[in-house]
Assembly symmetry: C2
Homo-oligomer: 208 residues x 2
DNA sequence: TGGTCTCTCAGCCTTTTGGCTGATACCGCA
DNA sequence: TGCGGTATCAGCCAAAAGGCTGAGAGACCA
């Protein structure tokens, strides 16, 4: 049987190097390409057609991980994408799953977890780190507090300090719509001001 | 000649694995131990007496990197500590240097930079990633941008999401004074809104 | 097919924030 | 003794944000 081919996407060379070393110990897994940005990832995925893409979400300027996942999935729905990131932010989890991610791993995951996730991904199985799974589970119980993908996207931009007008321009929606989303976000986060929402988002939601 | 012995401290196995793989390519550098927390680092440093300790600052619960650096330096001043972290927070840089760190590298540094930093550290040379160095440099040149104690106090409360009125009540000053301080803070941080100030404070200044 | 969710937009009004100018008081240091 | 830095406060005005109500379009699902 042929081995599982993997594309690594992370803007840190050290992390790619570590993942490659870890995955390299498994006879049935082969890292066939690496990329350090969303743009590079698309090119590499095109050229190498890997079975699984292991991707970080935070990747400096340019296309972010979520966007890259969406684009990858648009082009090839048989390619599984595994998120491999540092933070178990509620919003990021929701957005990544929404974008089509097959699994969500944290960087402090045990090697066996990572191997299992890669193997599971090619079989269409969804694998999550326990902390991630428990967050999703808790959200299922309190659906009222779950941000929609759009809200999460907006909150993410909010933490960059943008004004309502700028948010509207960035998302191609009117200022009125921005305010509507914000009102919903505040209610779900249990805050009353934009300042508190940003503080909550960065600290609790791990958005940075 | 004997090679340089290194202790790796990072709570992420992947990062340790990657660093080990990278450093392993150099004949004169040898990773002799690893630790995943500040506490473990102290024990490992005791047992292996490495020439250089390469350490992440953010390490989950327990002793943080800064604290670990301080303790390591207290015990053995000949042991060089290199900070190897993701964020170039002004506050973290200052605190790490203050605690006795010999160098400050970012995780997206090139391998050559890392090798050079390790070699430099044993010779008592201080090595910084360019972005880090430029931050320190800029602070020295622009003392105008350093927050006064009162301003820092206010900024800290600001990141909790308080309104001007609440800030005034908390600090026993009028709302007018709060606004004056805020205007100065915005100018020093180079932002124009409270939202951006909070984002900057939490991310860049490491206030959280 | 009807209900629910999500995303979109509008208008109106109040509160908050930010920009500006100017002022007083204290402290340390030249 | 005077100057610069810090902290305090006031008033005025414009801009931004927030609260509220209502509403249409599309997706999804029972």
């Amino acid at each position: 049987m042929s081995s599982i081919t993997v594309l690594l996407v992370d803007d840190h060379l050290v992390v790619r190097s570590g993942l490659k070393a870890l995955l390299g110990t498994q006879p049935d897994i082969e890292v066939v390409a690496e990329a350090s940005s969303g743009e590079e990832a698309l090119v590499a995925a095109e050229g190498h057609a890997p079975d699984v893409v292991v991707m970080d979400l935070a990747m400096g300027p340019g296309m972010d991980g979520i966007e890259a996942i969406r684009k990858l999935r648009e082009r090839n729905r048989r390619q599984a994408v595994l998120v491999f990131t540092t933070y178990d932010s509620d919003a990021d989890i929701v957005r990544a799953v929404d974008a089509g991610a097959m699994g969500y791993l944290l960087k402090d995951a045990a090697p066996e977890e990572i191997f299992a996730a890669v193997r599971g991904a090619v079989q269409g199985k969804s694998v999550m780190s326990p902390p991630v799974a428990s967050r999703l589970f808790q959200q299922l119980r309190n659906p009222d507090e779950v941000l929609t993908p759009r809200e999460a996207e907006l909150l993410s931009l909010l933490t960059e300090g943008l004004s309502n007008r700028e948010l509207g321009q960035r998302l191609f929606i009117s200022e009125a719509t921005v305010k509507t989303h914000l009102a919903h976000i505040y209610a779900k986060l249990g805050v009353e001001t934009r300042a508190a929402a940003i503080a909550t988002a960065i600290r609790r939601e791990g958005m940075r």
